[in-house]
């Protein structure tokens, strides 16, 4: 049984006609780009989606094309206005015309774009991310860290080949003051799809040796200005927030701060600005030290000066007191000496007076003594005279008597009276026994002497 039928081509032609007849020439459509490819001839092919706001489930999809001549214009317009590259993940407001091709089916031909919508949408997204970080209590964790006084051990997250990184190092190493810095690069991909994970991994690596560094620097320079999406990512921002070291950014873009910039401890525009900041910080430290040296020197000098003055003042005071004391002592002494001399004078005077009295007394006593002695002497003199006379007389008599006695006793006198003296060898012989027979003896007489020899010795005893 033959049914009435048309060919697929015919059907597609009818669909095409239906659309052409009923569809508006163009529509402004809000959609999210889920895929974006540019082919060799410069045409851009997009996959558009719409997600359910609550569940994030995809509720609509469609293909879209931006023809090469349009794409160049739309891309430039979009990027200069938003500071964003036209890429996957962005919500866009586009003007499309529905096209149906018998062979290529339904597709949306993108005629125009409204970048303002994306800007707003991104801002909303960004705001949502910020709110989420705040709600989780991590948003200002890194900003609340204190930068250590010395920021010289620096963990750098950058692409190893980026011009910004070598500028940064050059500026640190060649600082004119000669401050010493230590840089260790933790290389990461800084743009494109892998950037978010790559930077998070670099942070994780630094985290394992966190004690070796004073801070983390995330720098990026020389890349596409429009490829900043990763720095707005929740996940990266979440890591930066909770990083135990202060994070300084220098990711170099002119537009609004990225979320990473907002949560970082310090946000600077370029790698060079970060280097300058670090050098300045060292210069601040140096100035602080110089200030302390100056202050301490000044204060110590003041103190020593004050102590000196105090000493001098004390010295003067002591001298003054001493002078006063000496003065007082002197006057006391003078007073004492004066008193003493008066006393002495009085004493001398009274002594003299006593002496004078004594003198008179003594003179009187001496006189009477002398007088009595004189009398005594007179009496004695008379007695002496009398005595002497008597004694002289007596002595004269005694002398005469003695003379007579002596005359009687004179051996010569005896010899004259007939006695003789016999000697032998000069020895007077008183006993016959002194002599022996034939011994020569000498006999003295009143007149002359003889020498004879003993014939016989007769002692008085033998005679008896």
């Amino acid at each position: 049984m033959a049914r009435e039928s048309i060919s697929l081509f015919e059907l597609n032609t009818r669909i095409k006609e239906l659309i052409r007849a009923h569809a508006d020439p163009s529509y402004w459509v809000v959609a999210e780009i889920s895929e974006l490819k540019v082919n060799y001839s410069g045409h851009c092919y997009l996959e558009l989606i719409e997600k359910d706001l609550g569940s994030e489930r995809i509720v609509a999809t469609n293909r879209a094309t931006i023809w090469a001549q349009n794409y160049q214009m739309i891309k430039a317009y979009f990027e200069t206005t938003t500071g964003q590259r036209l890429q996957e993940g962005l919500k866009v407001l586009i003007k499309v015309r529905i096209e149906f091709h018998e062979l290529y089916r339904l597709s949306l031909n993108v005629l125009d774009i409204e970048p303002g919508y994306t800007v707003g949408e991104l801002a909303i997204q960004k705001q949502k991310t910020i709110e989420r970080l705040i709600a989780e209590g991590v948003f200002d964790m890194n900003t609340q860290l204190e930068l250590p006084l010395l920021c010289r051990r620096i963990a750098v997250i950058s692409s190893a080949t980026a011009a910004g990184y070598s500028d940064f190092r050059d500026q640190l190493e060649q600082n004119s003051s000669g401050f010493r810095f230590y840089c260790k690069l933790f290389p990461a991909v800084m743009q494109g799809n892998g950037a978010e994970d790559s930077i998070v991994q670099a942070l994780d690596r630094i985290n394992t040796c966190e004690a070796c560094f004073d801070l983390v620097v995330i720098i990026r320079g020389g890349g596409a200005k429009t490829d900043m999406n990763c720095f707005n990512s929740y996940w990266l921002a979440y890591h930066v927030c909770q990083f135990p070291l202060p994070v300084i950014t220098g990711i170099g873009h002119e537009q609004d701060d990225s979320i990473v910039d907002l949560v970082a401890h310090t946000r600077l525009k370029t790698p060079t600005a970060v280097a300058a900041f670090l050098v300045d910080r060292m210069a601040e430290r140096n100035a602080e030290l110089d200030y302390i040296v100056e202050e301490i020197t000044g204060l110590v000098q003041d103190k020593v000066q004050m102590a000196k003055q105090e000493l001098a003042r004390c010295g003067q005071l002591i001298q003054l007191r001493l002078k006063e004391r000496i003065g007082r002592s002197k006057s006391r002494l003078a007073h004492f000496v004066h008193g003493l001399s008066i006393q002495l004078q009085q004493r001398v005077r009274s002594a003299v007076h006593r002496l004078e009295k004594d003198q008179v007394k003594m003179a009187f006593m001496a006189e009477s003594e002398l007088r009595s002695r004189y009398r005594h002497v007179e009496i004695s003199g008379n007695q002496l005279k009398k005595g002497a006379l008597q004694a002289t007389k007596k002595t004269a008599f005694n002398l005469t008597q003695a003379e007579n006695k002596i005359r009687i006793l004179d051996p010569q006198h005896l010899l004259q009276r007939g006695y003789s003296i016999t000697t032998s060898g000069g020895v007077v012989i008183r006993d016959a026994r002194q002599l022996s027979e034939n011994q020569e003896i000498e006999t003295c007489f009143g007149q002359g002497k003889i020498v004879s020899t003993v014939k016989k010795v007769n002692s008085w005893q033998q005679r008896k």
Binding site: K184, R285, E295, K303, V304
Partner: protein, 69 residues
Amino acid sequence: MATKKISYDQAYSELQEILEKLENDELDVDKLSSQVRRASELIRFCKSRLFETEAEIEQIIREMDEEAE
């Protein structure tokens, strides 16, 4: 008192303490010289941290680089 084991922050806060004591006239002349000596030691330490190369840090970084390779 050795400065070897203390950090820059500790050294700096000790310096500030000495300065404060001096400013508040809390140091008698006897303590003055020992405190001034300590201060100059701390200053020397801090200045060396600003300007001089620390072999220990260089060594650590070198080891990290060797591990990465």
